[in-house]
Symmetry: C2
Subunit: 121 residues, 2 copies
């Protein structure tokens, strides 16, 4: 059959690395990525695109230059293009990212947390 389903929790069970997005689906030129996060990420922005975070399990915060958003399971946020942000999670948090194909997790900032943007799970 042409169309298959994706089980989000089952996909999360297939990898353990933090800050390492795994693609699970594509819709037009957009990708759905799962990420496990823990600790502090780097300040960065994405100049050309908005980015959506959906919290699947756990708690995280996103720091902005003008404040902080605390997020828990079932909450989402749209980070507008060009807006600097720094994700943080005290304990492991599982999130879904939605953004155009090819977006790099650290934007133009680079650094050791920069991950391959084209890994499927």
């Amino acid at each position: 059959m042409l169309v298959g389903k994706i089980n989000i929790k089952e996909k999360f069970s297939k990898f353990s690395e933090y800050w390492s997005p795994r693609i699970v689906a594509e819709m037009n030129e957009y990708q759905f990525k799962l990420v496990k996060i823990k600790g502090e990420f780097t300040w960065h922005d994405h100049k050309d695109t908005d980015e959506v975070f959906i919290i699947i399990e756990g708690f995280m915060s996103i720091e902005f230059r003008d404040g902080k958003v605390d997020l828990s399971e079932g909450e989402m946020v749209v980070v507008p293009r060009g807006v600097e942000h720094k994700p943080f999670a005290k304990d492991e948090c599982k999130i879904m990212l939605i953004e155009p194909r090819g977006v790099v997790n650290t934007g133009d900032t680079g650094g050791k947390l920069t991950a391959d943007s084209d890994v499927w799970v």
Copy 2:
């Protein structure tokens, strides 16, 4: 502060109509819509875009011309552009749709289940 969060379950508590998508967020030219469904929808397709279903609560099926996908909480599916499909839910099911701004729920099929495509909640 510039960026605010969206609580998906709280948004679902604000409306009760079935098959009536409510926009909760925009990312670039794409929209995130919440829909409560129950019963049988109409056969339709979207000629110009893929469409993503994420099951937030409950059970639903999507019938395709070549088979059927059963979906439960935490599962998702990408319906490719031009692929005819017919959603169904025996009991109320809460889903999130992701698709470009302006997509009409029944595609070109029309009929009494056609909903306004620009209602926010």
